[in-house]
Amino acid sequence: MLKEITVTVNGEKHTLEVEPRLLLVHMIREVLNLTGTHIGCDTSSCGACTILMDGKSIKSCTVLAVQANGKSLTTIEAVAVNGELSALQEGFKENHGLHCGFCTPGMIMRATELLANNPNPTEEEIRWGISGNLCRCTGYNNIVKAVIYAGAKMRGEELPSTEPQFV
């Protein structure tokens, strides 16, 4: 039996008829064709599907589309506004915070909430803050660096060097 839901995605309101079992991530990817949100596991372990629901980062593979009824969702596609990258997007690019790019949208969505709650996190807080997102490529060093860079940018402070540091 289909359920009608109304959901605002990236500022645009959609009224959809969905099966109750439709996973939110499939609604986003396959109904709305927003393929920037990815799927990397079955067990809410990897975080590739992270989006914002009413400003909170959630794993959209473990939420039903019907549960998003009346909610406002933000996906990676709406993070840059009018072609202007967000501080985090810039941070990831400038600091080599990505390799294959598959985990990147989830990482950026998660870090968006992290910085909203804690504008000046320590390295330790960043590491724990992204512990629900797996990256198999970067070893995380440069993701941490990207988040630190974005925090500084958002606070209007001097930006840390993006050059690689070697011992």
Binding site: M1, K3, E19, P20, R21, L23, D42, T43, S44, S45, G47, T50, K56, S57, I58, K59, C61, T62, V63, L64, V66, Q67, N69, R110, E113, L114, N117, W128, G129, I130, S131, G132, N133
Partner: protein, 290 residues
């Protein structure tokens, strides 16, 4: 991984939810945070016919101090517990435990009620609730009833919640000054279920005598376990290395862990002892600073 089809109900009131649970009986499951249930449904280990989503019921999410009790709504999210200043002041154990539950996104969804009602000895809140002597409020067709936490956990994945009842609130007695609490679990990696976890709350009088002690154990027993002999080993005397060692030993003897990928039975018993010792120290430290 995709769940089997089901009917979805999203009641706007508690009464309606309870009515639906009665209507669909065994076929219905309550959907709270969903981070245990939905993965099980995706793997088709759980195939409920009906989901009753309680997320849209107002009044189930709160953290308030009232009449000497801390009242926490069943639908309160882990992230709200994690960032609650009111909780942090009186129960530092909540910061300890929430940081170790799954990950930030899961904590944005997961609820304390769901964590308890799942009846899983691997979950972390049961041990904490045992240490804090909480009372569970269950609401059903006949109204609400209080269930002391010691009577709540029954067996493997089963609790005292009756058919048609919803866990609506947890009430924790506000302890006297001189109380401290702490939780830690050993985990293979962040977000994992505990290899062993220990929750301790301890009250030390001005005279240095331990007035009260609560010790709960995570994932080392078929059900969440209160370490009764360990508590008794502490109460009524000053805290000494000897009494702490005794408490640690008793807990490791009284639990009943099973060997799995997280470690052997022997290892887990030993870790219970280590953690009981460490958490008593940590709780006592906090008690003396309180």
């Amino acid at each position: 991984m995709i769940p089997q089809s089901f009917q979805y109900e999203s009641p706007g009131t508690l009464e309606e939810a309870i009515k639906l649970l009665h209507q669909y009986g065994e076929e219905a499951k309550i959907l709270s945070g969903g981070h245990s249930l939905i993965p099980m449904m995706k793997l088709r280990f759980a195939t409920p016919e009906v989901l009753v989503d309680i997320n849209n019921i107002p009044g189930l999410s709160h953290i308030v101090e009232e009449n000497g009790k801390m009242k926490i709504g069943g639908l309160t999210r882990e992230s709200e517990l994690e960032h609650s200043a009111a909780l942090a002041k009186i129960f530092p154990i909540f910061k300890d435990v929430t940081k170790l539950i799954a990950d930030p996104q899961v904590r944005n969804r997961g609820t304390i009620g769901g964590n308890l009602a799942h009846g899983d000895a691997a979950n972390d809140h049961p041990a904490v609730m045992l240490a804090l002597n909480a009372t569970v409020i269950a609401t059903g067709a006949e109204g609400s009833r209080e269930i002391p936490i010691d009577e709540f956990f029954f067996g493997f994945y089963s609790t005292a919640l009756q058919f048609g009842e919803i866990l609506t609130e947890i009430q924790i007695p506000i302890p006297p000054t001189g109380t401290g609490s702490a939780y830690h679990k050993l985990e293979r990696k962040v977000g994992d279920y505990a290899t062993a976890g220990v929750a301790v709350q301890i009250t030390i009088g001005d005279d240095g005598i331990v007035k009260a002690a609560g010790i709960g154990l995570t994932n080392v027993n078929p059900t969440p376990l209160r370490a009764v002999r360990s508590e008794q080993a502490l109460i009524g005397k000053p805290l000494t290395e000897h009494s702490i060692a005794e408490a640690a030993l008793y807990a490791s003897e009284d639990c009943s862990p099973s060997a799995d990928l997280r470690g052997s039975e022997e290892y887990k018993r030993a870790m219970v002892a280590v953690l009981v010792k460490r958490m008593i120290h940590e709780a006592a430290n906090r008690a003396s600073n309180n």
